[in-house]
């Protein structure tokens, strides 16, 4: 029955917290309510399970003894300084921003973790203002089911395996990864880590993971490289540097997306302007220009112009 077990667990925590030194199992059995009337092996099993359940909650139960000769029966204790939330006090503006942070996660497990953290702070007498700043809505969504198992793997430094579909027509391939970091970019989540099969850092998009992410090794079995290296590996997400410039004719009153990043603009008398538009990849620029239809004419360089014409022919259904 839950109530009886909760009482026993609470009494165990209190016993280990208040006692000086390590409390041997035999004493625990005597003084902690709920263990008394048990056969030894039943008590052993129950006690082991109880300890494990408390440790899963983050309660630091240590085993040991003060007797260097090992004659004394080993025991257990909880050191207050490892158990308690340290002193913390927040200024009103800090409390307001923590209250705001409590609204960020739109993911069940993360929202629950935030709530538990907030409750611990309230229990410690730290008031946070959860109604603050209704005018700000900072939401981060996590829709990918792979997120939580990958976060746990990152947390525990445990390798994982999963099926990944990189290029949709090809079949999903099995990957093995030592995950380093999970990150969100423009609303999509990615994991970066060391690809054990291909050997080297790789970035994966969580929405392309097919099926479950499964543990594939021991916790603590690898190290995560320094932040710079992790950031470099995730660099594929950042927009590439725009090293080239195209010359593009743009009808006046249109082409705003290009005008905003144009490095030069010559106004023409014929109702058209000539823009200098920086870009990193000719194909990507050609795709962007195509969207403007007849309001834009690519002049230079040649490969941008060619690709744009090809793309437009593609729409018409003809081979260029």
């Amino acid at each position: 029955m839950t109530q009886a077990k909760s009482e026993r667990l609470m009494n165990l925590v209190i016993c280990l917290l208040v006692s000086r030194g390590y409390v041997p199992k035999s004493r625990i059995r005597q003084v902690v309510g709920g263990y008394g009337d048990q056969r030894t092996d039943a008590f052993e099993r129950m006690f082991e399970r109880d300890k494990e359940e408390l440790r899963e909650l983050g309660i630091p139960i240590e085993s040991g003894s003060f007797d260097p000769f090992g004659d004394e029966e080993p025991g257990y204790r909880i050191r207050r300084r490892d158990f308690e939330l340290p002193e913390i006090s927040l200024e009103p503006d800090e409390a307001a921003v923590v209250g705001l942070a409590a609204r960020v996660w739109q993911h069940v497990s993360l929202a629950e973790a935030t709530s538990r953290a907030m409750l611990k702070l309230r229990a410690a007498g730290v008031e946070t203002d959860t109604r603050a700043l209704a005018a700000i809505e900072p939401r981060v969504a996590v829709e990918e089911p792979a997120f939580w198992p990958l976060w746990e793997a990152v947390r525990d430094r445990r390798p994982v395996t999963f099926s990944y579909r990189k290029d949709p027509p090809s079949r999903a391939g099995r990957r093995r990864l030592q995950p380093w970091s999970v990150l969100s970019w423009h609303g999509r989540w990615y994991v970066v880590g060391h690809d054990l099969v291909r050997g080297g850092p790789r970035l994966f998009r969580l929405s392309r993971i097919v099926g479950d992410v499964r543990p594939d090794g021991d916790a603590g079995s690898y190290d995560v490289p320094p932040p710079d290296e992790v950031r470099r590996a995730a660099g594929a997400l950042a927009p590439p540097r725009q090293s080239a410039t195209a010359r593009v004719r743009v009808r006046q009153g249109s082409g705003y997306g290009l005008r905003r990043r144009a490095t030069g603009c010559r106004t023409g008398g014929d109702g058209w302007d000539e823009l200098s538009v920086p870009y990193s990849d000719a194909g990507v620029l050609a795709e962007e220009l195509a969207g403007y239809g007849a309001d834009v004419v690519a002049l230079e360089p040649d490969d941008v112009r060619k690709r744009l014409v090809e793309r437009l022919h593609g729409v018409v259904g003809e081979v260029a």
Binding site: L57, V315, V319
Partner: protein, 329 residues
Amino acid sequence: MSVSHSGAQLQVERLLSLLPYLLSHPNSRLADVAELFGVTERQLLRDLNVLWFSGLPGLAMGDYIEVDMEAVEGEGVISVSNADYLARPLRLGTDEALALIVALRTLAAMPGSYDRGAIDRAIGKLERAAGSAAERAADVRVEVDGDSVADVAATIRRALDDKRRLRLSYWVPGRDETTERDVDPMRLALADGRLYLEGWCRRAEAERLFRLDRITAIEVLDVPAAVPPQARIRDLSAGIFQPSPDDELVTLEVTPAGRWVAEYYPCESVSEVAGGGLVIKLRVSDRRWLRRMVLRLGGTGRVVDPPDLAAEVVADAHEALAAYDEPPA
């Protein structure tokens, strides 16, 4: 994958916060505490009962935690004592430190959300309080397109704080036009890693969302904001793109290279076709937007239905091609 906790485990987890809370907030109302801890009053009474039967080892007279059950049943207030050994809650766990610190760092990256100094100080205090549990918080990151829109965000924040109207120039890519609007700001929102202004557009006389990186000019007017009472903030949990069932239904066919369309936009239906392509149905409120998208797709996608829209797109492409003096093959 996650360890799932037993009923007693969850209860004990709650009790380890409940007890210190009650000790530091004497005479709290049962109803308020239940709401704070997210449990029913009945469950809270069961929790208090567990505390009532807990205490110092040996559980002799005077060892038990004292709960004034009469006050609970009578006035509905809770008073506990004789439990100073649990006057402080358990330390933050790794997941808890992660959730709170990553959330704070996300706010720090969101200009206009809050005073950066306060956020940095709060992060510092929480990291110190969490100790080693906070180490992993650096392994989860939310990137926000904040820097390029910091000034715009600051202006909007000023207007929100002072309750003033904004005048802005806004670029709509789908229509390739920049228009000027007067907007009464309602809130600054972060969605999909980007910042948005949600406000009452005086021209449209309706709520509108403006992506900050598409605001080309902005100023705070010396006019008080007058957001009408019927204005509703949008539930953005379903995403920014929220097509309406009244919008036109368009059917597209895309090659494997065009599959990104289904990943990028909310679609009404997506079906596989032989060869790795897709047939996609989606709702479109403005044909101009779709025409531009299909032009960009080039040969990797085409409009299947409605046929007059397909013809419009082909005509757009012909018109654009005319500038290149290339005869069709």
